[in-house]
């Protein structure tokens, strides 16, 4: 049975290695400051948590901020963790890309860029994927149409 790692368990280790990364944590998962996302991702993959499988990458538009959600799994230990990061800029939201850590994030980040408009810095090929070039706007935002 996959055990969902509690946010608090991961928080201590993370606070030691990368101070200032954690914004908040609870039983469900942890919220990371977006500028520290890449070091946190590398740490989570290579540390004893061995969260080497990115199951899902998606974004939600709460009107005040965008939240990018990562569901991570560890195939070795059969554990899971939910990682989130927030982006408060509405005009040009940007978040670092985790493609260098988990290459399965490639197409999923392109899709989030296409439908929500969040740019991923460091992505090798960030362009529209399901909609055509020239489509006005980003449809999955709550204020579209």
């Amino acid at each position: 049975m996959t055990v969902a790692l509690s946010g608090k368990g991961v928080t201590e280790e993370l606070a030691k290695r990368i101070p200032g990364a954690i914004v908040s944590s609870d039983d469900k998962g942890i919220i990371i400051a977006s500028d520290k996302l890449l070091p946190v991702a590398e740490f989570l993959k290579s540390s004893q948590f061995a969260l080497d499988y990115l199951a899902n990458l998606t974004a939600v538009d709460y009107m005040d901020y965008f939240e990018v959600v990562y569901h991570l799994f560890s195939l070795q230990h059969n554990q899971s963790l939910t990682l989130k990061t927030r982006c408060y800029d509405r005009e040009r939201p940007a978040v670092p890309s985790v493609v260098s850590v988990w290459c399965g994030a490639d197409l999923q980040e392109r899709e989030v860029y296409d439908l929500m408009g969040i740019a991923f810095e460091g992505h090798p090929n960030l362009k529209r994927i399901v909609l055509w070039e020239g489509f006005p706007g980003h449809p999955l935002r709550r204020d579209y149409l």
Partner: protein, 209 residues
């Protein structure tokens, strides 16, 4: 392998932008349905001389028993079309032995599934590449009117905005027997058309390049 200087360098981004511009042009100009070809309804009342009637009958008999479809299987309905072509609901007994992939060798286009605006230029192009006489069968509610996805930002509200449709087969997805019934109706329509149709009626060119 060296790339010779002077050869056009392929730029993926420029190609994408050009295609996107074509999609946007279609989205702005082609949102009204093209009227269905209904000329065959008037022809029944016209009197024709006996020689032409026999010629008509012979030619149309040959045509309707050997319509070769080009399968434009887009979504779920495509699998009911494939079921129709498989061994249980065999459609080759009606002359549609093979589902041709090339439009140049086909005379019937089965549009099965949801058409999106991104796919619309491809649909129009395939339709234009088919030689006359050609017919279009819209299969499934998504092809008829947009179906469940009608309010979506990316779905064409009915294939008849892009190409003129001869037969509509409703269903989500229609059973293979329903599709076969639609094909029978198309055969009746073909039988009742005249060879002179192609001499006098202008080709429907709205939206074609």
């Amino acid at each position: 392998m060296e790339i010779e200087p002077g050869l056009p360098v392929y730029s993926s981004h420029e190609l994408n932008v050009a295609e996107g511009a074509e999609v946007e042009r279609m989205r702005r100009t082609m949102d009204q349905p093209i009227p269905d070809p209904a000329d065959w309804l008037e022809e029944r009342e016209l009197s024709r001389n006996i020689l032409l009637t026999t010629v008509d009958k012979a030619v149309q008999w040959g045509r309707h028993y050997s319509t070769w479809p080009v399968n434009f299987g887009l979504a779920c309905c495509a699998f009911e079309m494939i079921s129709l072509a498989a061994s249980r609901f065999d459609v080759s007994r009606f002359g549609m032995e093979l589902l041709r992939a090339s439009p140049r060798q086909a005379d019937l286009m089965w549009v099965c599934g949801t058409l999106t605006w991104k796919m619309a230029p491809a649909l129009r192009r395939i339709y234009d590449q088919m030689p006359e006489p050609k017919w279009v069968l819209a299969m499934g509610v998504c092809a008829i009117s947009g179906g469940t996805f009608r309010e979506s930002y990316a779905v064409v509200p009915g294939v008849n905005c892009i190409v003129p449709v001869d037969v509509y087969v409703p269903g989500c997805p229609p059973r293979p027997e329903a599709l076969m019934y639609g094909v029978m109706k198309l055969h009746e329509k073909i039988m009742s058309q005249s060879v002179t149709r192609y001499f006098s009626i202008p080709l429907i060119t709205r939206g074609a390049k």
